[in-house]
């Protein structure tokens, strides 16, 4: 299995742990991830809030790189995933935008690159049975609240990822790993990550309601797939505790880190020490499969 892999900017800064754990997991499963030479930022939210053409052109350049490699593009970051998929939609439905992009970049893009999230690759291409055979360790009943956030699942017409109100992709992975995925109502609520710096007052409320709900559901940790959700929910806990008098100590762990633990990959390779809230309860739960 071979894919063009779009790391996204956060992979080099705030989400090195997501990047390194995904790479380690892919290697263990013989998935070949190739970074397109010269990939650039997708523009994220600031681009689509500023200019529609800019918001389509930046991802289009990266899609062109994947198209020239003749490979599907695998993405980890939910924001990048959403912007790349949106660009495919824009290019296919608006010839004017396609023309303008072609004129600027000097290469035509027809919207044909298949953009897929890392989780989709695991479930659809690798398969649950193959994964199960590869696991050397188990989460032994660890209670996990899977949090999908916004941009993986919305808008459904664009992302075509699972169910927009009650996705279960990560839950399936957790259960195969021997954990217990929880049925809880805040799987796709917004944590406000985009406003983390600008409207911290709003973000504290949103993150508080998500972590509080996971705690009430009995979660030992929250599993995430998006670097923005991770950073926001992980780093805001101290502020929430101070401002709202809570006592949160909820590890916010990437699904790729949990997979890595079950594949017997070391803590350092998975970047588990980078998390702000210590994931010690997660690590203690992991036991060898006999």
């Amino acid at each position: 299995m071979k894919y063009a892999y779009y790391p996204g900017c956060s992979a080099e800064s705030t989400a090195r742990d997501l990047h390194s754990s995904s790479i380690a997991v892919a290697r263990r499963l013989s998935i070949e991830l190739i970074e397109p030479d010269g990939w650039s930022c997708c523009g994220a939210t600031p681009a689509h809030q500023t200019d529609r053409l800019l918001a389509a052109s930046l991802p289009a350049f990266n899609l062109i790189l994947a198209m020239e490699m003749g490979l599907d593009m695998v993405v980890n970051c939910a924001e990048c995933f959403s912007r790349l998929k949106m660009t495919n939609h824009e290019v296919v439905n608006h010839t004017e935008i396609r023309k303008q992009i072609g004129a600027t970049i000097g290469r035509d893009y027809d919207g044909s690159v298949n953009v897929r999230h890392f989780i989709e690759i695991l479930l659809e291409d690798v398969g649950i049975d193959f994964l199960q055979d590869k696991f050397t360790h188990s989460l032994s009943g660890l209670k996990v609240a899977c949090y999908y956030g916004c941009l993986l699942v919305r808008p459904q017409e664009i992302t075509q990822f699972d169910n927009p109100e009650n996705p279960v992709s990560m839950d399936r992975l957790i259960n195969v790993m021997g954990g217990e995925s929880l049925d809880w109502p805040h799987k796709v609520e917004c944590c406000g990550a985009g406003l983390a710096l600008t409207r911290t007052d709003v973000v504290v409320h949103l993150a508080d309601s998500i972590i509080g709900m996971a705690k009430d559901a009995g979660a030992d940790c929250i599993a995430v797939a998006c670097p923005l959700c991770q950073a926001n929910l992980d780093m805001r806990q101290s502020d929430i505790n101070n401002e709202k008098g809570r006592h949160y100590d909820m590890p916010i762990v990437y699904i790729s880190q949990l997979l890595g633990l079950c594949l017997g990959i070391s803590m350092d390779a998975l970047g588990l020490r980078k998390l702000m809230v210590s994931p010690s309860c997660v690590i203690h739960a992991v036991s060898a499969v006999v």
Binding site: R16, C41, G43, I105, L151, P155, G194, S238
Partner: protein, 184 residues
């Protein structure tokens, strides 16, 4: 919800500009308010999404560009996902942001337009985001140096943020993209 419309004043309504930029038909909205009920920031804004649409339908002018929702909206897309008429409200918000910046509406709390400029500036310069410089530029512009400073030492210690600028992007192409948009 009470909406006051000033009568007798020649206000140039902006609904057609919004509809064109967003590619939507706002006359399709019948005010079921699903967007406002699902909106995560409804409780933090004076005018939730359905009210914005109603105001536009009733002929709102540039004054609507100072509504706080425009910049509190986190672009989570719940409104679009749940709209029974399939109105892309997230794009309506983007259109209102573009118009707000263009027509110099009042600076919103938190100055998100400045954050967006700082973010895109580093992308234009390096081809990828450079968190450290982006955050510094935003904090300088808003004089909020002390916010989140308590987190910085542990972020550095855990190498949770890159110190050096990003390398490897095709900067030339990225610059060309930015130039083409600014000369549009």
């Amino acid at each position: 919800m009470t909406i006051r419309i000033k009568k007798g004043k020649a206000v140039k309504n902006i609904i057609s500009a919004v509809e064109e930029l967003a590619g939507v038909d706002l006359s399709e909205c019948y005010q079921c308010k699903k967007c406002s009920c699902g909106c995560p920031v409804s409780g933090h804004t004076k005018s939730p999404p359905s009210e914005i649409i109603r105001r536009l339908q009733l002929g709102a002018g540039d004054e609507i560009l100072s509504s706080d929702i425009i910049w509190i909206c986190s672009s989570c897309e719940t409104c679009f996902a749940r709209c029974p008429m399939g109105i892309d409200m997230a794009s309506v918000m983007d259109a209102l942001r573009v118009l707000a910046v263009k027509r110099q509406a009042a600076k919103p709390k938190g100055d998100i337009p400045l954050f967006n400029r700082a973010f895109l500036k580093t992308v234009n310069m390096f081809g990828r985001t450079y968190d450290l410089v982006m955050i510094a530029a935003y904090k300088m512009g808003t004089l909020t140096f002390m916010n989140d400073m308590d987190k910085f030492p542990s972020m550095l210690k855990k190498r949770k943020i890159a110190i050096l600028p990003p390398r490897g992007a095709d900067k030339k192409t990225v610059k060309r993209i930015f130039d083409s948009v600014s000369h549009k």
